[in-house]
């Protein structure tokens, strides 16, 4: 008799539980609720803090052009608060980035290893995510969208959406527990996925992992005295239109790494995205505009009136075209 009652109780309980799960009333409304931008910004602040302070050991793949590039990423701080970080490609020729405090070393197949003094590390993860996110607040909106499951964890989806139509959107899935990045997607204006970074494993540890202890003991390539060009170099060309928020980071005349072609070069940045502009003399008089997409990075190239103009950056092709068309001979101030 008792067993029967128990069974009945069990059955009725599970039925209520099933009904509760499929119940449309409560949980769904909670999830689809769009929270205020303030909370999205809090999430991004937390991400930045976690990326700077936590000891973690993680792997991810960058997926673009139907290809996946796997990386290993170590980060940590030792007892003296020295920041140590390694980005290492796992397939093909080595592209490693090492950080020891403010010295960042780049190890690449085509160039002798070199180090630069920099707080910013220019790797597959945009540097802004470990810096102050409010830098891009004027040009992008932060929207907290909802929860989902990524890498077997509870993740909060935050969207970084451009306020104009000139930039791509960034979607970030952040770990509820640690605030770290679990997935990143770059989305076009039409909502197409252009490039994504999917984390495949994440370990958060209390102390430094062995690899970072080794890095601490290792000698990095010296910070070489790279030739510097004065910023006020007289360039003949100027860009007359850029999306709001883009500032000139540098302008110089150099020769292209692989073709040795001398170019006038300008680099712009809006806090999240880098855009390079190249102008050089060409043998041809006119060539129609050509462009390719490398994941989210567009490369635009055209020859107008005997000058070759190129624009490179993670921006929509229409924006790149508008920038290229706005280039003109510098007018005296």
């Amino acid at each position: 008799m008792k067993v029967l009652i128990f069974l009945l109780l069990l059955l009725s309980n599970s039925f209520v539980a099933i009904a509760a799960e499929s119940s449309p009333v409560k949980p769904l409304i909670k999830n689809s609720q769009i929270t205020t931008p303030v909370s999205a910004k809090l999430w991004l602040n937390r991400l930045s803090k976690s990326l700077k302070t936590l000891n973690f050991n993680t792997s991810f793949v960058v997926v673009k052009n139907n290809q996946a590039e796997p990386y290993h990423w170590f980060h940590g701080r030792d007892e003296n608060d020295l920041e140590l970080e390694i980005f290492a490609t796992l397939n093909g020729p080595r592209h490693d980035i090492l950080r020891k405090g403010d010295v960042v070393s780049y190890i690449e197949p085509e160039v002798a290893p070199y180090s630069v003094e920099s707080e910013k590390l220019s790797g597959p993860i945009p540097a802004i995510f470990s810096a102050d996110i409010s830098i891009i607040e004027n040009d992008y909106e932060f929207i907290s969208v909802g929860r989902s499951r990524v890498l077997g964890r509870v993740a909060q989806l935050i969207r970084i959406v451009s306020k104009d139509q000139d930039r791509f959107g960034y979607w970030l899935w952040l770990d509820q527990e640690s605030g770290l990045l679990l997935k990143l997607a770059i989305i076009s204006l039409k909502g197409q996925l252009l490039e994504q970074i999917q984390f495949t494993h994440l370990d958060i540890t209390d102390s430094l992992v062995d690899t970072l202890i080794q890095l601490k003991q290792a000698d990095l390539p010296p910070v070489i005295e790279l030739p510097t060009i004065k910023q006020d170099h007289k360039l003949t060309w100027q860009v007359n239109w850029l999306p709001t928020g883009f500032k000139q980071i540098k302008a110089n005349r150099h020769s292209m790494s692989s073709t040795e072609q001398p170019v006038e070069f300008m680099l712009y940045n809006d806090g999240l995205v880098d855009v390079s502009v190249y102008v050089s003399a060409s043998d041809e008089n006119k060539r129609k505009v050509e462009y390719v997409m490398d994941g989210a990075t567009v490369v635009l190239n055209q020859v107008v009136n005997g000058f070759e103009i190129s624009v490179v950056g993670k921006i929509p092709s229409n924006t790149a075209k508008a920038i290229a068309d706005s280039i003109g001979i510098k007018t005296a101030p």
Binding site: N66, Q67, K250, D274, A296
Partner: protein, 200 residues
């Protein structure tokens, strides 16, 4: 006690008159007690399922669920060519540098060239460039003659290689400059990128 309460809620859901008269304060409890109000909605849901009246409710929630699903999982689509440009869209294939200018350690260079060429080969398998079979750059159909066709093909291929090399050079230089720009002294370039200043 609480079992009793649930029973009363059940009776209320089933519209039994006597319960209504008996428990006026049950309504207040329904409003304040979240467990009780959840039970109320569960009983209604169960009733709806039994009476097969769930249609409208389900469709309502599907929309939120679908919106949720779309938000969580972006559609995987290849980047599409903008209609603004009627140009050739192609995949960037990595090329090795011209041999003359390799001024770094021979072993490293050898490794790089092998690696890069392997990459290039893989790329072509993954994304065969059909662009050039379908849209001839010359803009007209060549006469069906073995000679003309082969020379056309050759120059097209050369153009294609030239184009790919240009794009690859730009990409490489862009990434390089971005890395250097992070430096505190941000207008640095690599030693071999120096140009003689022709400006007086």
């Amino acid at each position: 006690m609480s079992e009793n309460k649930f029973e009363k809620v059940s009776s209320l859901v089933d519209n039994y008159q006597d319960v209504k008269n008996e428990n006026i304060d049950l309504f207040d409890q329904l409003n304040t007690d979240s467990v009780l109000s959840d039970t109320w909605s569960h009983y209604h849901l169960i009733g709806d399922v039994l009476r097969d009246e769930l249609q409208s409710k389900i469709s309502l929630d599907f929309s939120t669920q679908i919106a949720q699903a779309i938000a969580d999982e972006p559609t995987v689509l290849a980047p599409k060519q903008s209609t603004l440009f009627n140009t050739v869209k192609a995949k960037v294939v990595q090329f090795s540098k011209p041999f003359g200018q390799i001024a770094i350690a021979a072993s490293a260079a050898g490794l790089m060239i092998i690696g890069v060429q392997q990459n290039g080969a893989v790329n072509e398998i993954v994304m065969p460039s059909q662009v050039f079979q379908t849209t001839p750059l010359a803009g007209f159909a060549a006469p069906v003659s073995f000679n003309t066709q082969s020379t056309n093909r050759l120059s097209e291929k050369q153009l294609y290689i030239e184009q790919q090399r240009r794009f690859q050079a730009l990409l490489t230089d862009h990434y390089q400059q971005v890395k250097l720009s992070a430096s505190k002294n941000n207008n640095q370039i690599l030693p071999r990128q120096q140009v003689e200043d022709s400006a007086k």
